[in-house]
Symmetry: C2
Subunit: 209 residues, 2 copies
Amino acid sequence: MSATLLPASSHRRVPWKNGGGYTTELVVRPDGDATGSAQGPFTWRLSIATVDRDGGFSAFPGVDRSLMALSPGGLGLVDGGHPVALGRYGVHRFAGENDVAAIGVTVPTLDLNLMTRRDACTGVLEHLRLDAPAGTPRELAAPPGGAVVVVLLAGTLHVDDQLLKPHDAVLIERTCQADDGALRLSGDADVAVASVYPLPGEGFTRTVS
Amino acid sequence: MSATLLPASSHRRVPWKNGGGYTTELVVRPDGDATGSAQGPFTWRLSIATVDRDGGFSAFPGVDRSLMALSPGGLGLVDGGHPVALGRYGVHRFAGENDVAAIGVTVPTLDLNLMTRRDACTGVLEHLRLDAPAGTPRELAAPPGGAVVVVLLAGTLHVDDQLLKPHDAVLIERTCQADDGALRLSGDADVAVASVYPLPGEGFTRTVS
């Protein structure tokens, strides 16, 4: 089992593509440099953005996105003209080509973003609720082949006896057997779990729709 | 490498949940019986439906759906009040809770449906275009851990030297190394590729949104 702790203090801060703000990068694959990764091509990326005010998101053609509202007040979006009201830890999935904007923002609001390049991989972003005493941890088994990131959102969380701080993350990649990728989680916590899977048929001509 | 040929002649024909028609089932997991599988709980299912006329789809709460239009004229949908015009081989992804209907149907129209239970797995349905002479086949590598189904939509396709008929499918499941799951494809064909991946954290309390 090869799990990597990604402390919040080591997350990289990178400028938005549209220049309107900053994003804290938890994971980007393939690894980019600190200045260019948000602009350059990536296979997938997990990051936390701060939305300070109403406004449109950067376009990411060819990318599928999942956005989780992290702040207690949730987040209001308009996706292609249609309103989407996210409660705290609610997730909205949308295409990077969509015209998406934040609305009704009165206080700075955090969101967790998973982006996956549509011709290379697919991903899921979920909120899990943990309530497990230290003596009886829950196992989170990472599926073979995929990458899984566990992010502490709120509460107290031990992963394999290591105490996490808020926005600390643990990454597992390229396991083969499911048993290889089991994390023992204990505590009373809200966690985000991002999982990313490579698509078959690399190099084929695909209809991206 | 354990690939299974699923000839079109062996696909099961099961009634729609809402009684409005029939579906041809290519794969259902876990394996259901011939009469009950369309009604019962499944982890994932790949099937072909015939849309004869305008009308609403069955609701599938807790299920994510991807629908590919197979007929030359494509398929018109309305998803939650919003029109979606699919060209041939175009894919629309939607939640099974959505209020979705076919519109503008003048001739019987086929569509390929991938359904995945949101608390158990995720899936991608894609159209790939193949143009590879027999002497120089293309390799389609199935990612570790996932299940991949290749379906011949139109044209001529050999998979590992076996000639497929239209709507014949080949299934690969539970590979561990990527090399285990490589299919050699040759011919001049339009193919659908469905890939399904198990989610981490089985048994956790998750926010399904």
